[in-house]
Symmetry: C2
Subunit: 331 residues, 2 copies
DNA sequence: CTGTTAGCGCCTTCAA
DNA sequence: TTGAAGGCGCTAACAG
C-alpha cells in the first residue's frame, strides 16, 4: 500500500506538499499539482483514513442506535439523519441494538473510545431506564417521549393521541376501544395518556375492559379484533397504537363480518405507506419521520462542534390524517 | 482525555507495561497490575481505539451493503453476519445503499481507505452491473444469484422456484399465474427461470399473459390479484416471487369472492413470519437467512485473514414449506 | 509556494 | 518482569 511518502518520493516533492495538494490544492503550484496527480495515479495511492482520523482525534462518525432495523418508521428517520450527516462530512454507523442493553453499551463504548463522536438514540425511554445520556457522551434522543432526559426531538404523542380520540368522540363515539402497544413502551404510555385525557375531557369514564394488549405487531392486531368482536356491548371505534395493528384489525373485523367504517371506526398511528392503500384507507397520525432524523442530526452535530443548542427539547408538528376508516357510529 | 502515558505516570510505570497489562495481564506482576487498575480508574482512562487501529493497520470492521434496510429478510441475514463477526472481534458497519451505485461506491471507498477490511454485499447482481468484486477489495456476495462473480453464498433460486411450481403441477394445475418481482432483479430472473423450467418439464407451454408484473411490495400483489380475477380463463394457481405480494394477493382474491385454496392456490417465496399466520397459511420457500449471513461472514473473515476458502460458491439448502394455501384445482 | 520537523496514542521489539 | 525507543501515516506549524 502506497503511503504519502511514496507519493512524495515519486513526485520529487515533500510529504507536506502532497498533503497540502490533497486538502488545499489551490495553494500548490500547477506544475507540482500535475506531478502529484501522476504520482498518485501511478502508485494507486489512497490516503489512509485511519491515520487521518487518528491524527485529527475525531472519527467524524455518529452512531445511530436503532431498536429494530427492519422497521419502516426508523428507516425513514435514519434516512433524514444520513442526509444531514453526509452533507456535513460525517458517516453514520448504524447500531441495531435489538432492544438489548448489552449491545447498546457496546455502541456507547465506541464513542468513549473515539470510534465515534456522538450518538443518536432511536429507542424511546423514560428517565428510569436510560443508559444515555452519559456525562462524557454527546447524545440526542430522536423520536423520544415525554420526560426524556437531555436533548431530544419528537412529536407530542400525548397531544396527537388525544386529538385522534377526541375526533372519534366528536363523531359521536362513546365506547372507544384501544389496541395498546407493549406495556412498558414509552410511546405506548404517552399515547395512552392522550387517550385517557380525551375521555376525561368529554366526561366519559375510562373502562379498562376496552383496552386490549398488543405488541405493535400485525398478529396482535388480528387477535385484538377478535376480542373486540365478541365484546358486549361492542365498542364502536378503536384507537390503535400503530398502523400495523390497525390494518391487521381491519382485516380481523372483516373476517367477523364487521364492516368498516359503518360498523366500526378505527384510527392508527404512524402513517405507514400501506395505510394509504388498505381498504378502507386508514385514518392515522402522521409523524414527520425524516424531519425528526434531520433535526436530530443537526442537534448532535452542533453538540459535537461545541455549540450549545438553544433548546433541549424539539417538538415537531404531527399531522392528523383523516381517511375512510372512520364514520359516526350507527344510531 | 487521559492517555496511556498519563496512566503510566500515575502508576509510576512505563507505557509499555501499561500496554502489556491491557493486552496480556498475566505477564505483569500482580502488584503493578493493581497499581495500574487504580490509576486507570482514577484517570478514567479509555484506550483510544482510533490509535490502536491506526497502529494495527486494520480496522477490524466489515461493511455490509444492504439495498433496503427496512426488510425482514435482510435483517435476518445481517443478524447472522453480526453473530459471527462479533465472536471474532469484528464490528459491522451497515451500509444502506438504497439501490444507489453512488452510495455503494462510497462504502467501497471505506475499505480502500482502511476504514473497513472487507465487504459483504446483499444486493444481488449479475456479471454485467457489478461494482464488486474489485481487485483490491475483499468481498463476498450474500444471497446472490446465478452467475454472481466471485465469492458468494446463496440458495438455488432456480431449483426452488421449479420445485414449487412442479408441486402445483403435480396437484393438477395447468394454468399457473406468476406475480413477478422487479424485472431486472436477478432473484426475479432466477425464479422466473425456475418457473419456466417446471412448465417445460411438464410439457405445458409458457403463456406470457399469465405473468403479472409486481415490484416485491404489498400493493403490487393486491393489483395483481385483481388482474388475475378478471382473466378468462382464470389461472387456478399463482406463484408469487415473494411472500409479501402473495399475502396481498390472498387478500385481493378474497375481496373478489375467490376463496383460497378451493378456488385458487398460491405459493410465495421467503417464508416471512406472517406467512405462518395469514389465512390461509402460506405455502412458500423458506430461505435460511441467518445461515446465509453466518456463512458469508465466515467466508469474508477467512479472506481477510489471508486464508483461501475451498470454494467460491456456497449454495445453502432451502426448504419448501407446504401450508394451507394450496390444493388441487376444482375439476 | 515548498521543505523540515515534530508529534498524535499506541504497541512492539530489544535490552536490562 | 520492566523500561526505553522507534515508528505506524498523516498534518500543521514554522522556516526558508
Amino acid at each position: 500500500m502506497a503511503t504519502i511518502r511514496d507519493v512524495a518520493k515519486e513526485a520529487g516533492l515533500s510529504t507536506g506538499t502532497i498533503s497540502k495538494a490533497l486538502s488545499t490544492p489551490e495553494r500548490v503550484s500547477k506544475k507540482n499539482l500535475e506531478k502529484i496527480q501522476i504520482a498518485i495515479k501511478k502508485l494507486k495511492y489512497k490516503p489512509n483514513m485511519l491515520a487521518q482520523k487518528f491524527r485529527a482525534k475525531s472519527s467524524k462518525t455518529i452512531v445511530v442506535l436503532v431498536p429494530d432495523i427492519a422497521n419502516q418508521f426508523f428507516a425513514s428517520v435514519i434516512s433524514g439523519i444520513e442526509l444531514v450527516a453526509q452533507n456535513r462530512g460525517y458517516s453514520v454507523l448504524l447500531g441495531d441494538t435489538r432492544d438489548s442493553a448489552v449491545r447498546e453499551r457496546e455502541f456507547v463504548r465506541m464513542v468513549e473510545t473515539k470510534l465515534a463522536d456522538g450518538i443518536i438514540n432511536l429507542r424511546p425511554y423514560k428517565k428510569e431506564d436510560a443508559i444515555l445520556p452519559q456525562d462524557d457522551i454527546l447524545s440526542v434522543s430522536a423520536s423520544s417521549c415525554e420526560g426524556t432526559p437531555s436533548y431530544s426531538v419528537r412529536i407530542d404523542n400525548v397531544g396527537a393521541a388525544k386529538k385522534a380520540v377526541s375526533h372519534l368522540i366528536a363523531l359521536g363515539h362513546k365506547r372507544i376501544g384501544v389496541i395498546s402497544g407493549l406495556k412498558e413502551n414509552p410511546h405506548n404510555i404517552d399515547r395512552f395518556n392522550g387517550y385517557k385525557a380525551a375521555l376525561a375531557d368529554a366526561n366519559i369514564t375510562y373502562d379498562p375492559k376496552l383496552v386490549v394488549a398488543g405488541d405493535f405487531n400485525y398478529w396482535s392486531g388480528l387477535t385484538a379484533a377478535e376480542q373486540f368482536s365478541i365484546m358486549k356491548p361492542r365498542p364502536t371505534a378503536i384507537f390503535s397504537m400503530n398502523d400495523e395493528m390497525a390494518i391487521a384489525a381491519i382485516r380481523g373485523f372483516k373476517d367477523k363480518g364487521i364492516n368498516m367504517p359503518e360498523d366500526m371506526s378505527i384510527i392508527g398511528f404512524d402513517d405507514m405507506e400501506v395505510s394509504r392503500y388498505c381498504i378502507p384507507t386508514l385514518t392515522t397520525i402522521s409523524q414527520p419521520a425524516e424531519k425528526i432524523g434531520e433535526k436530530s442530526a443537526e442537534l448532535l452535530l452542533q453538540l459535537i462542534e461545541g455549540k450549545k443548542p438553544e433548546t433541549e427539547e424539539y417538538i415537531l408538528p404531527y399531522e392528523f390524517v383523516i381517511r375512510e376508516s372512520i364514520a359516526p357510529p350507527k344510531i
